[in-house]
C-alpha cells in the first residue's frame, strides 16, 4: 500500500511488466475532488475518464479517473449509488476533463454536478435518457436520426463572423466540425464539435472474448493500431497475471517504432504539401510506401494490425527479417537526413512553419497534453524514456531512449520533433534487432474472472491508455480505450488563435489528431 501527495487514499501497484500503474479507490466525490486538486498541484494530469455500470455485480455505477504524474499513472475509482450517479465537476481543476465528462454522461449516464452539460458523443441518433453502456440498454434498437441543435458559444463584437467547416472536409481526412469566429482573416475563436465517427465501439467490446477484443481495439484508430493493441494486451496481461517474454516485448517495440516512423514520414510529407512544397509530399510518401511495404512483407500486414496480441505477438521474425529491418533503417536514415537539410534550408517552408500555431508549456500542463505535442512545447514527457522518478517498462528501460524536445511550441517545433523522433526510432529499432532475446513469442492467457487492468503505451501521438475489466465468465465486461487526442484537440483551439484561417490546415496537420480515436 502506498499513498500519494499526502492524500489519505491507499494505492496498490499493478503487477506485471507494463508501465507503472497504481490502483486505488476514493470513498466519495469530495475525496476525488481533493485528490484531483493535489494531483494538479503536483504537476500531474488527467489521462482518462470513463464510467461503468456495476449494477449486475451488486453495486451502482463506477467512475474511473486515471491521472498521470511524475512516476506513472494512478487509477482512481469512485463507486456511485445506482439511483443517483453523480460526482463533482473536475473541469474547474483540469479543463481537459470537460469533454471526457460529457462523453461519460452520454455513454453511461453518470453526470458531473456543474460544468458543461452539453452532450458530446450524442448528436441526435438516440434519446437523451438512453445510455448505451448500461447493461439494460438492450441491443439493436435505433431511433429516428434527429439532427440536434448544438449550442456553440457565441462570439460577439463588431465585424466578427462565423465560418462553419465540416463535418466533411476538403481533403481525404476524417469528419468533424470546426466553427471559426473571425474578424477579417484573424481567428478569434475556434470551437470543435466532434463525435461524427462515433460507431458504438465501447458497447461492441462488451461480452467479447479476449482475442475478439484485441481485433477490435486494433481498429479504433488505424494509424495507431500497434499502440492500441499493446496497451490493451498490457492491460489484459496485468489483469490475468501473464508476463510476455522478452522476445515478445522486443518485437512489440519493433512494430510500435515502425508505426511511429510510418506516421511521422507521412505527416512530414503532408506538412510540406500544406506549405506549398509538393516535392516534400512525393519524397516522404515514397519513403513511407517503402516502409509500409516492408512491414507488409515481414508481418503480413502493411500497418501490422493484429500482430500484437494478449500474451505476446502473433508473428515471429527470423534472422533475415531482422536484417531487412536493420538494412532499411540505414537507408531511410540517410534519405530522411537529406530531406531534413532541404526542409531546414527552404525559406518558404520555414516561413510558414516558424511561429505558426504556437502553444506554450503552461497550456500543455493546463490541458494535460502528452506525446509529441507536449515535447514540441518543451515538456519532456515520454513513457519510453527514463525520468528522475520514472522507470520505463521493458524493453524501453534497457534502450536508453533519448526523447526529442523542442521549446518553441510552433509548427516548426512539431516538424523538428517528428524528424528527431524518426532518427531516434531508427536507432532503437537497430538496437532491438541486434539484441532480440530468444524464446517463445506468445504465451497462453487464461482469462481471470472479475479481474481488471490498465495499459499505457507511448504511441506516436502520445499516451494511449486502455482500461479493461473482465466479467465472471472471463469475457470483457468493459473496455475503455483513450486516445491522446482527447487532450490535444482542445489545445488546437488555442493554437489557431491570432493566426489566419488559411493557416489552419497546416496547424491541424502538425498535430494530425485522431477523430475516430476520441469518437469511438
Amino acid at each position: 500500500m502506498t499513498t500519494f501527495f499526502d492524500e489519505p487514499i491507499e494505492f496498490t501497484l499493478q503487477e506485471g511488466v507494463g508501465a507503472p500503474v497504481w490502483l486505488g479507490t476514493v470513498p466519495d466525490g469530495e475525496a476525488l475532488e481533493a485528490f484531483a486538486v493535489s494531483v494538479h498541484k503536483n504537476d500531474g494530469r488527467i489521462a482518462a475518464i470513463w464510467g461503468s455500470d456495476e449494477r449486475l455485480r451488486g453495486n451502482g455505477f463506477r467512475l474511473v479517473v486515471v491521472f498521470g504524474f511524475e512516476s506513472g499513472h494512478l487509477q482512481v475509482s469512485l463507486d456511485l449509488p445506482a439511483d443517483k450517479p453523480v460526482y463533482p465537476d473536475l473541469s474547474g481543476i483540469f479543463a481537459t476533463a470537460n469533454r471526457m465528462q460529457r462523453a461519460t454522461r452520454d455513454m453511461v449516464g453518470i453526470a458531473s454536478v456543474g460544468g458543461d452539460q452539453r452532450p458530446w458523443l450524442r448528436h441526435g441518433a438516440w434519446p437523451a435518457d438512453w445510455y448505451p453502456l448500461r447493461h439494460d440498454a438492450g441491443e439493436g434498437q435505433s431511433w429516428p436520426n434527429e439532427p440536434s441543435d448544438y449550442a456553440f458559444l457565441q462570439v460577439g463584437g463588431e465585424g466578427a463572423h462565423e465560418i462553419p467547416v465540416g463535418p466533411i472536409h476538403a481533403g481525404i481526412i476524417e469528419p468533424g466540425h470546426f466553427r471559426f469566429s473571425v474578424i477579417g482573416e484573424r481567428v478569434l475563436r475556434l470551437e470543435q464539435r466532434l463525435g461524427y465517427q462515433h460507431k458504438g465501439v465501447e458497447k461492441r467490446f462488451i461480452g467479447l472474448a479476449l482475442d475478439g477484443g484485441a481485433r477490435l481495439v486494433g481498429r479504433i484508430s488505424g494509424d495507431s493500431t500497434c499502440a492500441y493493441a499493446w496497451a490493451y494486451a498490457s492491460a489484459i496481461e496485468a489483469a490475468c497475471d501473464v508476463e510476455p517474454t522478452g522476445r515478445a516485448l522486443g518485437l512489440r517495440a519493433l512494430v510500435l517504432e515502425r508505426e511511429r516512423v510510418a506516421n511521422h514520414l507521412g505527416d512530414l510529407g503532408m506538412l510540406g504539401n500544406d506549405a506549398a512544397f509538393s516535392f516534400g509530399l512525393s519524397q516522404f510518401f515514397r519513403l513511407k510506401e517503402d516502409w509500409v511495404e516492408l512491414s507488409g512483407r515481414l508481418f503480413g500486414h502493411r500497418f501490422m494490425m493484429d500482430r500484437i496480441v494478449p500474451g505476446g505477438v502473433s508473428q515471429d521474425l527470423d534472422a533475415d527479417g531482422l536484417a531487412a529491418i536493420t538494412e532499411q533503417c540505414i537507408v531511410i536514415e540517410k534519405e530522411v537526413r537529406a530531406l531534413k537539410r532541404i526542409y531546414d534550408e527552404h525559406a518558404g517552408l520555414q516561413d510558414r512553419f516558424l511561429t505558426t500555431g504556437p502553444i506554450g508549456p503552461e497550456l500543455v500542463r493546463e490541458l494535460s497534453l502528452t506525446g509529441m505535442a507536449a515535447r514540441a512545447s518543451g515538456v519532456m514527457l515520454d513513457g519510453r524514456a527514463w525520468r528522475q522518478d520514472y522507470t520505463p517498462p521493458p524493453p524501453y528501460a534497457g534502450l536508453g531512449v533519448r526523447p526529442a524536445v523542442d521549446e518553441r511550441g510552433d509548427v516548426a517545433a512539431r516538424v523538428e520533433v517528428r524528424f528527431l523522433e524518426v532518427f531516434e526510432s531508427l536507432r532503437l529499432m537497430q538496437k532491438l534487432a541486434a539484441s532480440l532475446p530468444g524464446g517463445p513469442v506468445r504465451l497462453e492467457v487464461p482469462p481471470k474472472p472479475d479481474a481488471q487492468g490498465l495499459g499505457v503505451i507511448e504511441g506516436w501521438r502520445g499516451e494511449v491508455v486502455v482500461g479493461v475489466a473482465l466479467d465472471g465468465r472471463g469475457k470483457l465486461a468493459r473496455v475503455h480505450p483513450h486516445d491522446p487526442s482527447w487532450q490535444i484537440w482542445p489545445a488546437l483551439e488555442h493554437a489557431v488563435l491570432r493566426d489566419i484561417v488559411p493557416d489552419f490546415p497546416l496547424i491541424n496537420k502538425s498535430f494530425n489528431l485522431s477523430y475516430t480515436g476520441v469518437d469511438l
Binding site: K199, G222, D223, G266, R341
Partner: protein, 182 residues
Amino acid sequence: MIPLLKRIIRTGIISRKLPAILADVPAAQAPQAGEHERLQDEILNILGRALTIREVDAGSCNGCELEVHALNNPYYNLEGRGIKFVASPRHADMLLVTGPVTRNMENALKVAYDCTPDPKLVVAVGDCGGGCGEVGPMFAENYASCGKVSNVIPVDVFVPGCPPTPAALMQGILAAIKGSKG
C-alpha cells in the same frame, strides 16, 4: 536549392508500372494483360476528361484513409493517371466511401451523394464499408452505426480488405469505371 535539385534528379521517375501493381493482387482478380495501357483512354472515352473522386470518410478507423492516401504516392501516382481527388462532391464523378456509416454521418453522406452530379459512381471501401470479412460484422448496425455503405446510399463496387491495399483500390476504381461503360 542544390540539394533539392540533386534529390529530384537522383529519385527520377519511380511511378510503378501498372502490371507490377496488379501483380500484387490475386491472379483471379487481375485484369487482362494490356488493359492498363487503356486505362487513361478508357477514362477519356467514358468521361471525356480526367476522373474526379470525392473521398468521404463516413466512420472509418482511418486505416482505409492511409491506403487511399498511398494512391497518390509516386509509386501508384493516381493523379498522374488521370484520376484526381476533388474537394467538393459537386465536382466529382465518383464517391469513394469508407467506414461503417455512423448514424452521426448518415445525413452528411446522403447530402454528399445527392450533391454528386449524375451519372455518379459509388465505391465502398474496406470490410467495414462492405460489411463483410471478419471485420465488417464487428462494426455492423447498432445504435450508433448504419453498418455497410449500401445501407445508406447505392453502391456500384465494393473493395474488400482491412484496409484494402492501394492495388486493390485501383482495381476497384477501374472496375467501377468499366462497369459504368458496359
